[in-house]
């Protein structure tokens, strides 16, 4: 009895005591308001990642620490003067800058390369080591053995700019000491960039998205601005606003019901990945059969559409018309039935789509970079452009060329990086081959440019602000194995903020500042008809022992005896002033340097209205010919026919003068049965920009890494939403949770690209990186990355 009273009494006494403040309270309301106003300042900065956009970020600083991030506070909701609202990723940037994984000190590798075992060294030792290694590499192998790897983690700046590598401070440094092996192409656009000039000549673009207010129909072909151009001042804003203003009809062609489709599409046409050229051929068949194509346009502006307009040297039956109607060498008519079988789109839908596109005048066909990132990507890209020509939409308001959307850009000057004495350039995707088998690589077999063949392998890699050493390059396991052998590539210098998968493969690992820890001029991204320039000032002091890339290069230049040549006696800010002065000459509306610094941003609406690609050519093709051999749009490209004759292609690869549908290894024809029945693509994901932001807790919470699988496929495999599954093929195995959804075509799975490669002791990648499953085998023409061409299997873990 006593216990109960005693226990009850004691509890009551404690409670009463606390309630009346006699005991300390654990109250959460003790914090003073953080945004008191006094003792805080707001500094303009930016997010500089490879997102196709570019957002200012206003950073509130209290006691030398960034406490909050706010968006652009200028502009409105109108096209051409829009407020540039940062996307979800930029809003989380504090967790990048202050991430617990942030690299703090220079380090050198101990243990096996790739093990991530490092010991801290001084900056002096780091610089000395790098300079010595450069000297000995140049002496032993020559400058062509030094490679600047693709890296786009810091491409937004003017000085602290990682892409293109030829524009980076690293390039300037190397150009002071004899140059380096360059590369051409990007992981974003290898195939389309290589292929487009064969159709439209160099320098051809498309209309800007603000122009779609003038379109009767917009076809977004593998183009997903709301997940690949997410800025609220970039193309997400432009497309939504243009749609709202005009009510233009939008059709999305994509294996996924993307977020772009969710908000602006009126129709969704799903298709099997890699079959775009087949769809175009089937659409062309309908248009030709029903006489819906623009014959007059084709006659005037194009070569190669029909037999009557073949270029010299082209064989009879070599026209696209013959290809489509079955009168060409393959004697196969590209009927809607033929197309349906390949693409998975029903016959009636193909017919209807052809009529809809052909009859919409004008129609803006705008492809993204998904279709081209395949083993047959060059032909897919050219095929979609052909459709724009077939329907006569090239070079007019409301129409388009079928390429990726264009945008208005201010004319600005760049940080000068001097001239590279080395002319040799390899395809962006082939550097692993250039380590492993360089001397076998030739211009006609491997796309080497500037030389007939490589003479030395890559011995030294600069990896600045990039995760393409391991995470973003294909076949991660195979790449890891290659890099582990330090007798092949002997030195890898990584300049990075975070301990990424690539950083783990460094021999010397240098901690970079974030772009908020240094001043820089930050040019715009793609934003319709808005041009802008941001002054991203230094917000906080460099954290830990981090230093700017400009300082790193200066110190190394010093040890190489080229400091004066590299710096020209200028600091980073001196260079900014110099480059800005040159920009002011090009763009007279720019304010003074001080004014821009204070204001943070300069904005200008496109004075010409909207961008219209190839407008002059359309207005007068004789006076303004394209930079093609014929001066016209080359549906049949004799240059490609030449390459096809001259180049040595592996079994199964084809370079064709027409944008034919070419089935490939691990293509849809091989899916459905067998060991690896699913086609796997790797879509761009809201959680990250490629792999940047991949270690940010708020982003992992908001958008966890999930493999998309169709509801029907999941049911047949016994997989439920959120189940832990493994996706695998001969190249590797990843583990992650499943997103069972009706928003992806049957037979297709998608592993969002950019997740951080993290193999466990059994080699299972627990990070869920798509590149554990992709292939080194390059595309035929660009020798580019075919990262959407994969066959896999998926099962419950």
């Amino acid at each position: 009895m006593k216990w109960s009273a005693a226990a009850g009494g004691a509890a009551a006494a404690v409670g009463v005591g606390a309630h009346y403040g006699l005991l300390p309270l654990t109250s959460a309301s003790a914090e003073p308001a953080a945004d008191a106003g006094a003792g805080e300042k707001v500094v303009w900065s930016s997010c500089n990642v490879n997102c196709g956009s570019r957002c200012p970020l206003l950073m509130t600083v209290v006691d030398g620490q960034i406490v909050r991030v706010d968006p652009d506070d200028t502009g409105d909701d109108e096209l051409g003067s829009q407020q540039i609202r940062a996307c979800v990723r930029g809003r989380s940037i504090r967790q990048r800058i202050y991430n617990p994984d942030r690299l703090k000190h220079p380090m050198k590798r101990v243990g096996k390369r790739g093990s991530g075992e490092f010991e801290q060294i001084t900056w002096e030792e780091a610089y000395d080591t790098i300079a010595a290694s450069l000297k000995s590499t140049i002496e032993k192998y020559g400058n062509e053995a030094i490679y600047l790897n693709y890296g786009t983690g810091a491409l937004g700046g003017t000085i602290a700019k990682s892409w293109p590598p030829a524009s980076s401070p690293i390039a300037r440094l190397m150009n002071c000491v004899g140059g380096y092996l360059n590369h051409y192409g990007t992981y974003s656009t290898a195939q389309i960039a290589a292929a487009t000039p064969y159709t439209y000549g160099a320098g051809a673009g498309n209309n800007s998205f603000d122009d779609i207010v003038n379109s009767k129909l917009v076809v977004l072909w593998g183009n997903n601005p709301h997940e690949t151009r997410m800025s609220g001042g970039g193309e997400t804003f432009v497309t939504q606003t243009a749609k709202r203003l005009s009510g233009t009809k939008v059709i999305v062609i994509d294996p996924r019901y993307t977020d772009t489709a969710v908000t602006i599409a009126d129709e969704w046409v799903p298709l099997r990945p890699g079959t775009d050229a087949a769809l175009v051929a089937a659409l062309a068949h309908v248009m030709i059969t029903e006489n819906l194509h623009d014959q007059e346009f084709l006659d005037t502006y194009c070569v190669g559409f029909d037999e009557a307009h073949l270029p010299e040297g082209a064989p009879a039956g070599g026209s696209y018309h013959s290809y489509v109607m079955g009168l060409g060498p393959d004697a196969t008519e590209k009927t809607p039935e033929w197309g349906a079988k390949i693409t998975g789109i029903p016959v009636a839908r193909i017919v209807q789509l052809a009529r809809t596109i052909a009859q919409a005048k004008p129609c803006a066909i705008v492809q993204g970079w998904g279709p081209q990132r395949h083993a047959n990507g060059e032909n897919s890209a050219r095929a979609v452009m052909l459709l724009a020509a077939l329907t006569g939409n090239v070079g007019i308001t409301g129409g388009g060329t079928g390429a990726r959307e264009g945008s208005y850009q201010l004319s600005l000057s760049a940080f000068p990086t001097l001239k590279n004495p080395v002319k040799t350039s390899i395809p962006v995707f082939m550097w692993t081959d250039a380590i492993e088998r360089a001397t076998e690589m030739t211009a006609t077999a491997d796309g080497i440019q500037g030389k007939d063949r490589l003479e030395v392998p890559i011995k030294f890699i600069w990896n600045y602000a990039g995760n393409a050493l391991i995470n973003q390059h294909s076949d991660a396991n195979r790449t890891a194995k290659l890099l582990e052998d330090d007798s092949l590539c002997e030195m890898i210098v990584v300049i990075e903020n975070q301990m990424t998968a690539s950083a783990k493969f460094a021999d010397i690992l240098l901690p970079d500042v974030s772009n908020s820890e240094q001043p820089d001029l930050v040019p715009q991204g793609s934003a319709g008809n808005l041009g802008y320039l941001i002054f991203a000032d230094q917000v906080i002091e460099p954290l830990f022992e981090c230093r700017t890339v400009y300082e790193m290069c200066t110190e190394i230049a010093d040890r190489l005896g080229v400091k004066a040549e590299f710096t020209e006696g200028m600091t980073q800010e001196d260079w900014l002033r110099k480059v800005y002065a040159e920009s002011q000459a090009k763009e007279p509306d720019l304010p003074s340097f001080e004014e821009l610094r204070e204001k943070g941003i300069f904005k200008k609406k496109n004075p010409a209205g909207t961008v219209v690609g190839l407008k002059a050519f359309r207005q007068d093709p004789v006076a303004n010919p394209l930079k093609t051999p014929s001066g016209k749009i080359e549906i049949y490209s004799s240059l490609l026919q030449d390459l096809s004759d001259k180049w040595t292609l592996p079994e199964g690869d084809r370079i064709t003068p027409l944008p034919e549908y070419t089935p490939t290894w691990e293509g849809p024809e091989l899916a459905g049965t067998g060991k690896y029945p699913f086609q796997m693509i790797g879509h761009h994901y809201k959680s990250r920009t490629h792999s940047t932001y991949g270690n940010v807790a708020w982003m992992q919470e908001a958008h966890p890494q999930l493999v998309w699988i169709n509801t029907l496929d999941a049911t047949s495999l016994g997989i439920e939403n959120d189940d832990v599954v493994q996706v695998f093929n001969d190249r590797g195995r990843i583990q992650l949770r499943a997103h069972v959804t009706a928003r992806i075509a049957p037979g297709v799975v998608s592993v969002p690209q950019g997740a951080w490669y993290a193999p466990d002791k059994d080699g299972v990648d627990k990070g869920g990186c798509t590149n554990t499953l992709t292939s080194w085998r390059p595309s035929p023409l660009a020798k580019g990355n075919p990262q959407h061409t994969n066959l896999v299997q998926i099962e419950k873990a």
Partner: protein, 512 residues
């Protein structure tokens, strides 16, 4: 009086990017797991396959919700401490000087607005960025949205602009879609998928919902205490005349003293459920609308009255009549406690709990555990007395037998009630809405092993052993009775504990 503020959300523009969610986290320094604005994907549809081709019929919408600052907030209504309240702008906000972190508001809100911060031990939620609003700025989420899908302002102005249905649906949205094309069908009425927002669900198959163990302990112990007290009262009322006060007192008084600690243990256990127990006295601030407040009041009153009665009994204070009245009041207060406890769970947001089976099973547990606890206590006390005193007390022995027979009979009847109620309840869940079905699936955790164990144990204890107890109490060897009574009690309390764990584990709240 300032005007009610609120949000407008244009679902046709939302791409599900969650810039709003992260902007809010950045502004308020929220940790992972505390999300004041949540974005759910709502999608579904079907595919038709014909040969090599496929046709989709798919829909997707995103919904972004922080707090709707409701006119009649469910969270405010259920909050026991009045920490949750509407301020002069109509913003629903938390006074964390009062909040005890009981998380009742979290159960009651269909939008998931109240968010528990485990580091602070209190609830947190969208405060409409009142500091920014006062400075003439927009809330962080509204200012962040890249698609301009969010607006904020005086709710009357928003209603004038966009319509006055405070619903979540396509309401006067800015029209920009063409009429549906062939191949683009309007969304089916019955969605194939529920809104998916990754709330912190317990992992599948995890019966041990550790967060709610304090509540399991509290409800089981409190109900058992009330039941025991009532049974003791019934024994007093019905068996004193036939067996004598002395015999009754010999067995009941030790049992009475055991109830107190059980009750206090239960109440103390319930405090472990709170994030901020030092504010616990606030929990009776809201008797006017919160069943939780009422439960705490009656729980404390029952404990207090019970302790008083035990004291009075021990010291022989007051007259027997007054003591009887005190006991009666205590019993009634105890029954009121059980009623309030069950009403706490009658939340429209939780189909698994919002069912008449809840009060019925709470009372069944009360009497079943109470009866068997008293049965075990009587048997143990009797056996210990016999060993110690070795007196052959015929009266007490007869009392033991009579009371055990009646207890056994009650147990069998109550078992019958459970076996009728539980299947009906399970069927109702299995045929209910998506959340009810999810709860039904949770009940079948581990292939239903736990549910089966719960049923088997109570059948063995109350049914089989109850039957033998009834027989042996009537006409069997006395020495078996203590084993039967204690084992029956042990089996049933194990069963009821598993049953209560299942109750909490089957939680699935509607909405976001």
């Amino acid at each position: 009086m300032a005007k009610q503020l609120g949000f407008y959300f244009d679902q046709t523009l939302c791409t599900g990017c969650k810039a709003c969610q992260v902007a809010c986290k950045d502004k308020n320094d929220l940790p992972v797991g505390v999300t004041w604005r949540r974005v759910a994907e709502y999608s579904g549809g079907t595919w038709q396959q014909e040969g090599d081709t496929f046709t989709p019929n798919v829909f997707t919408y995103y919904t972004s919700i922080s707090c709707n600052h409701c006119d009649e907030p469910a969270c405010v209504q259920v909050c026991p401490t009045t920490a949750m309240h509407k301020d002069e702008h109509g913003i629903v906000t938390i006074d964390d000087g009062k909040c005890v972190g009981c998380r009742y508001c979290e159960w009651a809100c269909p939008y998931g607005a109240p968010q528990y911060d485990k580091n602070a031990g209190v609830m947190t939620k969208c405060d409409l960025c009142i500091d920014r609003v006062n400075a003439g700025e927009q809330p962080a989420c509204v200012a962040a949205c890249p698609s301009r899908a969010l607006e904020f302002g005086e709710i009357e102005e928003l209603r004038a602009k966009y319509g006055d249905t405070a619903a979540i649906g396509v309401q006067n949205a800015r029209p920009h879609h063409d009429p549906p094309q062939p191949g683009h069908h309007p969304p089916p009425r019955r969605p194939a998928h529920r809104p998916r927002h990754r709330r912190h669900r317990q992992p599948r198959g995890d019966l041990m919902n550790v967060h709610e163990l304090p509540l399991v302990a509290f409800t089981i112990l409190a109900q058992m205490s009330v039941g025991s007290f009532v049974i003791l009262g019934l024994v007093q009322l019905s068996l004193v005349r036939t067996h004598g006060q002395e015999a009754v007192d010999k067995l009941s008084i030790p049992a009475l003293y055991a109830i107190g600690p059980a009750m206090v243990l239960g109440l103390a256990g319930s405090m472990l459920h709170l994030g901020d127990p030092f504010n616990a006295l606030n929990a009776i601030n809201h008797l006017g609308s919160s069943w939780l407040s009422r439960e705490i009041l009656f729980g404390s009153a029952f404990a207090g009255l019970g302790a008083t009665f035990a004291l009075v009994q021990w010291r022989n204070w007051l007259t027997p009549m007054l003591r009887q009245i005190l006991a009666g009041v205590t019993a009634l207060v105890g029954l009121a406690l059980v009623y309030c406890m069950s009403m706490v769970y009658m939340l429209p947001t939780v189909p698994a709990w919002n069912h008449w089976a809840t009060p019925v099973t709470f009372f069944t547990t009360t009497f079943l555990l109470g009866a068997l606890a008293i049965g075990a206590a009587f048997a143990v006390v009797y056996t210990l007395r016999k060993r110690k005193h070795q007196d052959d007390d015929m009266q007490t022995a007869a009392l033991l037998r009579t009371s055990l027979r009646r207890i056994a009979a009650s147990a069998i009847v109550l078992l019958g009630v459970e076996f009728i109620v539980l299947p009906i309840y399970a069927l109702d869940l299995a045929t209910g809405n998506a959340n009810a079905k999810a709860s039904a699936a949770l009940l079948m955790t581990g292939g239903g092993a736990y549910l089966i164990a719960r049923l088997v144990l109570v059948f063995a204890g109350a049914g089989i052993l109850g039957f033998f107890l009834y027989r042996f109490a009537g006409k069997g060897a006395e020495r078996h009775l203590v084993y039967l009574a204690t084992t029956a009690f042990a089996l049933v309390i194990a069963s009821e504990t598993i049953g209560r764990l299942l109750f909490y584990s089957s939680f699935d709240r509607i909405g976001m």
